[in-house]
Amino acid sequence: MLELATRNVVLGASLLGIVGGALGCFALLRRQSLLGDAIAHAALPGVCLAYLITGNKGPESLLAGALIAGVIGALLIVGVVRMSRIKEDTAIGIVLSVFFGGGIVLLTYIQKLPWGNQSGLDKFLFGQAASLMSSDVQVMAGLGGTALLVCILFFKELKLLAFDREFAASMGLPVRSLELLLTVLLVVVVVVGLQTVGVVLIVATLITPAAAARQWTERLSLMLVVAAAIGGLSGAVGAAISAAVPRMPTGPVIVLCASSVLVLSILAAPQRGLLHAHLAERRAGRRIREENLLRDLYLWGERRGGDWSHAVSRPVLMGSRGLQARHIAQLGRRLAGRGLVEAGTDGLVLTEAGNRFAKRVVRKHRLWESYLARRLELPSDHVHRDADVMEHVLSDDAVEWIDRLLGHPRLDPHGRPIPEAEPT
């Protein structure tokens, strides 16, 4: 018996996760995440009224009540925005609070009725998956499966609607009907999730898997699949945890599972992830420090009248950029490994290849200074700091273009020679 109950919970929760994840992608991309929240809260009075009218706690009538109330709430939001000067976020807030307030009043009233069978409606607030029966799961599967099927059938149209509504309309797509369809599909997700997660947290099953999936892919069809997988998996895992550990609420645990995936995705996803950005930044920083050190070595040789055979001591190199000894040691090791410098006891000296490399950096620096001074007519004491950055960023092509543009100048604005480009 217990096993059957657990199976129902896991099935119901993963079903909700799959449908919510897939449809949530459209809500996310159309910036309608909060619309889902409002619809969910709007469903509560529908549930209560359905019970008051039918006196029956079967899933069919209660979920039908939720469906109707959810659609009314969504239409009210659209209507308020279209008819008045109230903006969408305000309309969403109003509908959400009014419907939810009404729902709570009805719920309290129902619980004080002397009928005896009214207990359990409050499970729609936060969900109570443990009480899911096989018949509930069947209803959920029917509704969710239909929603998913519709979403797959009209995928192309819904994608165009989400990307470029006006173009879709110019092409003759019935955009308003499609928007209504999408809203109804969101309501269906809400209805599917009412018993498992409850009205308060359903929005998380819509937006969290979708937001996580967006991190991993640049293709909408794949995003839908990934979101459905994340939603389904966190539903199953969350339900299993809450079944195995006593006194664990199902809905909130599912939400926490999905949120963990989201946090992980924000951190670790390729391209969009924070970790990737951090690593890329560190790599760029290291490259800049290496190029700076090579350039410093070159400048010292230039000061000796073009003699690069002497090693430059570590304290001198530390002084020129305020670096610590271990930084110099680290940089020296890495550059020596690439054959660009030789590190001896008395300091660092450029190799042949290192000299060519450094020349290119210096060339970029001085050509950019010349460009700023001549073309933008900046005074020569204003151009150095800018060139310090650009020497690391400009591509070789861009630099040669500048060189041609300026007519192959030989000296920079400070009167120092611009090294010739040499093939590496």
Partner: protein
């Protein structure tokens, strides 16, 4: 590609605006526009900010419903001529961080011909790729659209319109904020379209290039100031009338209308709608 009949066989003119007055949201932005756009020409719509240039396009495309008047596309209402018309919206009108590729966006131009429930397949992708090639960025087909430069994004939009294979193209500022290479590519494309007998109506901001790029000009500032071939209509006097004098009376009328809270359909000869 579907072959089109010779331009001589096409009914002319391309677009006729009959007595169009249109309000966008609550603000009336077009008054009594009577305008004929000839077939097979490159037509610029020119006027200051807020003059109603985009709205005029949107009225013709059925995206904004006029309060009065009607539009004919090649002699028929827009609904029956929809497949003859291609649209290039303003580049800023969409979110370019959308999870999709350049090729995918261009394929969207084929959705209208494809019909409901059918998925774009290899044939559609090949056609879309050919359109990307015509705007010179076939090599970027698989790129995510946020990775494209502004000029490349504009070319993706143009390729999408090409995929629609239309007789008439409406473009909302195709030259806005593009690099010099893209500007040349777009210009060549427009000339190619003209040589194929297509009509292009483009909202254009750069007055210096109007005479060079276009054959026909529409000068607009809430009302139609002038329209005709460049030589006769793009005159200093007409430009002064378009950009210079403030239309205080018209602006005041607009504000009075808004304050009066008369339903817009009643306020501007509503019942005469055809």
């Amino acid at each position: 590609m579907t072959s089109l009949p010779e331009s001589a066989a096409l009914p002319s003119p391309a677009v006729e605006f009959h007595d169009i007055t249109a309000a966008y949201r609550t603000q009336p932005v077009l008054w009594d526009i009577d305008l004929v756009i000839p077939t097979g020409q490159l037509v610029a719509i020119v006027g200051p900010n807020g003059a109603g240039k985009s709205t005029l396009l949107k009225v013709a495309l059925g995206l904004v419903r006029p309060l009065t008047g009607w539009v004919e596309i090649f002699g028929e209402p827009f609904e029956t001529r929809r497949s003859w018309v291609g649209y290039v919206p303003q580049r800023e009108s969409v979110d370019w961080d959308f999870p999709t590729s350049a090729l995918d966006v261009v394929t969207m131009g084929l959705y209208g011909q494809l019909g409901w429930l059918k998925r774009p397949g290899r044939r559609e992708h090949e056609r879309a790729l050919a359109c990307l090639d015509r705007v010179g960025i076939a090599d970027l087909a698989r790129r995510q659209i946020s990775q494209l430069s502004g000029g490349q994004q504009q070319r993706v939009f143009l390729a999408r319109a090409l995929a629609q294979d239309s007789r008439l193209y409406m473009m909302d500022e195709p030259f806005a904020g593009v690099d010099a290479t893209t500007e040349r590519a777009i210009l060549e494309l427009l000339q190619e379209l003209r040589s194929l007998g297509r009509t292009v109506i483009a909202v254009h901001h750069d007055l210096q290039t109007v005479g060079e790029y276009f054959d026909h000009v529409v000068l607009l500032n809430l009302r139609l100031v002038a329209a005709g071939p460049i030589a006769s209509a793009f005159t200093h006097e007409n430009l002064t009338r378009t950009y210079g004098g403030r239309l205080t009376a018209l602006t005041q009328a607009t504000e009075a209308l808004l304050r009066s809270r008369v339903p817009p359909s009643e306020s501007i000869r509503g019942p005469e709608r055809r």
